[in-house]
Amino acid sequence: MPEARVIPLDGRNDPSSRRRASASADEPIELPVGGDRAGGAPDWERKVAGAMAFLRRRITGEYDVDEFGFDPDLTDNVMLPVLRPLYEKYFRIETRGMENVPSEGGALIVANHSGTIPVDSTMTTVALHDHHPARRHLRMLAADLVFTLPIIAPMARKSGSTLACNEDAERLMRAGELVGVWPEGFKGIGKPFSERYKLQRFGRGGFVSAALRSGVPIIPCSIVGAEEIYPLVGNIPTLARALGVPYIPITPFFPLLGPLGLIPLPSKWIIEFGEPIETDKIGSAGADDPMLVFNLTDQVREVIQQTLYKLLLARRSVFF
């Protein structure tokens, strides 16, 4: 049986091609096609049909965009599929504590920010969509700068971001959306590599008062691994000021290797969602009590910092 030795090698991992190949030994053409129709091809055809339906919707404009400019059709069919390999294969992200994120109703996810480019927020979006049982979309609050940049601005809105202001945050949370905020902002994302995993100041606590006014729980989220994707070793403040951006990063590979230096290092990530901090008992009056807001802000910050230390201790290495 020489055929048996030769043919399976061609399609060892693909049962349909093996079937096709072994069948072809007996009946050359008819059976393989029939076999495939029953197995892989209809699925493949369905995918093409799905893609065609998607393209048709895009060409004719027959899709819905919410008031914030969020385009679920584009997010689910283009943006998430593009990010997914990065999440699963490249950073091999492990999520913990997903049960702390409610399946419905508003909540505010507060996370540490790092990595020179906000890859961590996009990965948190993938985590909550792919690994939460309710497949929730995360609505991110983004910095002013994002909405002034061509191409970036509409992409941000279409993928569910909106401007980080109290009006928008409260509107989203009241509507029962899952809102994500990175209160360190540019201080966190653009900090030098030597200060990795040291939380920066948490803004003015605006996110806490927004959560208090909307009566939604605050869920601390700790992200380990994003600090190492672009180790920021220097900055060109003069150029940054001239261009009106917070910093111009220098990493060991950028700008030294040019565009190649833009490839992130394949660190292994862990995203942990902590226990929710309930705010509905405090009530919206608490939002006008600055001391309470400061204390709550510190509490959230402390929880994230402690979780980061715990995860760092448990981590075997940066890359594995």
Binding site: P2, E3, R5, V6, I7, D10, R20, A21, S24, A25, P28, I29, L31, P32, V33, D36, A41, W44, E45, V48, A49, M52, A53, L55, R56, R58, I59, T60, G61, E62, Y63, D64, V65, D66, E67, F68, G69, D71, D144, F147, T148, L149, P150, I151, I152, A153, P154, R157, K158, T162, L163, C165, E167, D168, R171
Partner: protein, 364 residues
Amino acid sequence: MSAKVVLVTGVSRYLGGRLAAQLSADDTVERVIGVDVIPPKTDVGRTEFVRADIRNPIIAKVIASAQVDTVAHMSVIATPFGAGGRTAMKEINVIGTMQLLAACQKAPSVRKLVVKSTTAVYGSSSRDPALFSENMEPRGLPRSGYAKDSVEVEGYVRGLGRRRPDVDVTLLRFANFIGPRIDTPLTRYFSLPVVPRVLGFDPRVQFLHEDDGMEVLRRAVVEDHRGTFNVAGDGVLLLSQAIRRAGRVEVTFPSPAVSLVGSIFRRSGLVDFSPEQVAFLQFGRGVDTTRLREDFGYTPRFNTIESFDDFVVGSGMTRLVDPARADALGAAVMGLVGRGAAAGMGVVGAALSAVSAVRSPANA
């Protein structure tokens, strides 16, 4: 307080004319007086037309002699076309409003003032919240054109409200009107053969169907709704999406070039591309209509998408990108894929059997 004698300014313009026609069909309204500098071209029913310029103090005599109790100020105009340029437009909008309000303040018979304003008073910038409520301040005050005029008009209207607290002031901030019949800078924009867009930006836009707008205006005149209200269809469209729904072809320019292209369009008298329109095409705008629905008590019958679709169908524009054609193309591709898949598998199967046929004697 029901409106007995209504004065409608800007009666020769589209919205003013329609409002006058609607009011004259209403039996509870005793008299409708329409004011404009040119006679109305449309049928305005039993409206009595008075040829007067609101920039002229003669308007005070009209109000006093007819014992007007309700004034609907509709002559804040949005484009310099037809008005005779930007200077004349500003005169009509700002000086006209000042004169009209001065006359209203002096006339004890006036009990209600309804003013057509625009959501453009919120401006358009990258720092805007997703939706503006009536009590929110613009992030940057509009510095030119219709939007600036409207901000000033609103200022004078508020002034009158302070000085005459017995007058019920209704300020209606309308989103961009759209519909099968109305002619606005935006309907002209979407009717361009190739629609220009700002490169790298995709603003959210909200539309208000002309019929909904008219109904809100009518109710504001015949019912009592003191206050400021945003009026817009529910939901938003992205500009790119709107262009696709209209079956138009778009062309993108970087924002400095849009201003340049805009001024060419403006000079050619085709479409009004004033700087604040360019900002709108870059950042867009959305408004919250909760107050309209809950306090005013009106829910627009058309949402933003339906309004826009009604405009596309009703204005009879030719769709360059046709959904039917897209369907045909889709079907063709699917057919090709189906056949291609079958053929492809067949070829692979044949190739494999050929390979095995070649190899088997060699191995044997």
